[in-house]
Symmetry: C2
DNA sequence: GGCACCGATGTTTACGTAAACATTTCCGGT
DNA sequence: ACCGGAAATGTTTACGTAAACATCGGTGCC
């Protein structure tokens, strides 16, 4: 670390002067030991809850601890144990419901296991930044890493990953080389499309997410697959960037298609935009056209009309991420392969049989 | 008690766990030094970028580092430096836009300053859990703490806070005793209510957040204040829990009030519910009734109709949190007082003059 | 040519903790 | 009274890093 110390700022660095702002050394076990009149090892035993300390002594030590406000030094412990009890989470954005919900679940389950989460944000998804994050990661006090990111960016950065840090990846097809946990995108998309076909729609249109998203690709692929299997025509694909605005624009286009009676939108935000476009164009949902979303965000039930959508179990994704990460940490092994978390179709009021023609 | 325990089942705290797998020791500076044929101190100098290493030697060391895959041990550094370059963030939920956006901003600005974020989730806001989080916090390797939480819960837990950890709090009235950064709730609410009055509405109804939220209270207080100042009647308050469903229920009630021509809703999610309730009851927004939200979530512009709302600058809140936290860390001081981040009213299509009567 | 000095590198030490090993204390059994 | 032995407590050491201090070789100056 480049200690850029301006030489002329004051009369010497603040920590040398005896009168300087009390950069007071933290209370250590030695201090407690001195006050309690025991050895620091005994303090350690009390601190870690080891047996073999007579109650009277223990009480003495605890009193001294309280009196001095002692708390163990995490860094020293980590150094001693050789592990940090910390999981790093690399992510690109928290703006999407999925990411923040997954993160929350990860943090919660990690906490249950006595681990904490260190956040490593990658603000702009340029290769540089990603590489930078992973380089920094190398120096970070982290036992395992969970990556929540479109994996395409990750690919070239992967090589930089320190070999002794265990990795779990969300939203990725890197199952060959890494441990991947993800929602079963394909199954969810199939549920959505089948639902619409079952209602009697001749075919289903699709508003997909951006091509660099693995999830978007999987959903689009499954959509196309179901239509092909069923021998239905495959309408041209619209793409958006997950935002409601993008959905709105796609919706305006779809509203012009007289054949379009059913739309599967790759996420709920874009579905919101589609609903607004249809509303504005006087295409009544679900009477004239049915819409299915993906994610089941908290607001989906309050859209106009309440949105039928594919529910993602973000909590479960988070749980399995932590599970896989800790398993690897404990065994010291590196797992590969993909774990898929099932989805569930939530029926609300945005789908109905097609209008009589 | 301990007499009956066989020594090999010794169950200390979970993190004392068995060091079962042959945890291969990480490459240390000594290893690099040996390979490069220099002293470990020279490796240290190269690693930290200190001057005074001749290029040839430096290259030799770098080669050895690469060859062995060396990366510095964060714990050892932290122990040496006496600081962790880490900020802990305590929060209750990431489900609200505000919290996750603030967190993202905090993480980003912290990263810019060379700090990382450690997440400390408090899943259920019981006093127990909060206390627990703060106790754990004490042992955590953290230089400062940012708390994103309704402060009422915090209050009694505060005493537990280690005195040498610096604190910044969001969404709180603890400015007397702590450093608080928050959106200027009152100003935002005033903007919203004034906007509606300026449009010609006789008065403004309010759907508030839960009473345990400080933000909710501030917004409600400001709403009432503006009406009082303007000499307008103060309609009865509705309360919700921030969710769209709660907004929907409140909206159904408001739709029955013939006098209600303008509603200020304490957040956008509830506003979404209110819009749906009005839609369902045939009260056209904004022709029959105007609605203003709070937050300006990404989807607000895609509501039906697009929502006029108070924009919160979460990024700025996050930035100032980090700033305040790091300032305290650097100076070793404890700041108190409140910093307010201004809001901005975003005009969209959900407000209009009241209907002619 | 000798000496003071500086730059490059090596050696020692401390950070706080806890395992491993060492010592003391105290007990019951003979 | 003595001894074996275990429980209670103390001492040493290592974890990986980097500041502080020590050393060594060369360079410039008189």
């Amino acid at each position: 670390m480049s200690t850029t110390r301006p030489p002329e700022t004051s009369s010497g660095p603040p920590w040398t002067g005896p009168l300087s702002p009390p950069r007071r050394r933290r209370v250590s076990m030695a201090d407690v030991a001195r006050l309690a009149g025991v050895s620091s090892q005994t303090v350690s035993r009390v601190s870690t809850g080891h047996p073999g300390v007579v109650p009277a002594t223990r009480e003495q030590v605890l009193t001294a601890m309280r009196q001095l406000g002692y708390r163990p030094n995490g860094a020293a412990r980590a150094l001693k144990y050789g592990e940090f009890r910390t999981i790093g989470v690399v992510l690109f954005t928290l703006a999407t419901t999925g990411n923040s919900r997954t993160l929350e679940a990860i943090a919660t389950y990690a906490a249950d296991a006595g681990y904490v989460i260190t956040l490593i944000p990658v603000t702009t998804p340029t290769q540089d930044r990603v590489d930078g994050a992973f380089t920094r990661l190398g120096e970070l006090a982290v036992d395992a890493v969970i990556v929540i990111m479109e994996v395409h960016l990750l690919d070239t950065a992967t090589v930089v990953l320190p070999p002794d840090v265990h990795v779990v990846i969300v939203d990725s097809d890197a199952g060959e080389r890494h441990c991947v946990v993800d929602t079963d995108q394909a199954h969810g998309a199939r549920q959505a499309v089948h639902h619409l076909l079952d209602l009697g729609h001749r075919t289903v249109w699709h508003v997909a997410g951006p091509p660099e998203s693995f999830a978007a690709e999987r959903r689009a692929l499954a959509w196309r697959g179901v239509l092909r299997e069923a021998g239905r025509p495959v309408p041209p694909l619209r793409r958006g960037d997950w935002s409601a605005d993008a959905g709105y624009r796609a919706g305006l286009e779809l509203a012009e298609e007289p054949d379009c009676t059913a739309v599967f939108v790759a996420n709920d935000q874009m579905a919101l935009g589609v609903l607004r476009a249809f509303y504005q164009r006087g295409r009544v949902v679900p009477r004239d056209v049915s819409v299915v979303g993906f994610d089941d965000i908290a607001e989906a039930g309050s859209f106009i009309p309440p949105l039928t959508t594919v529910h993602q179990d973000f909590a479960e994704v988070g749980r399995r991420c932590v599970e896989a990460a800790l398993r690897q940490v404990r065994t010291g092994s590196t797992e590969t392969g993909t774990t898929l978390v099932p989805t569930r179709l939530v029926l609300r009021d945005s789908t109905a049989p097609p209008p009589r023609r």
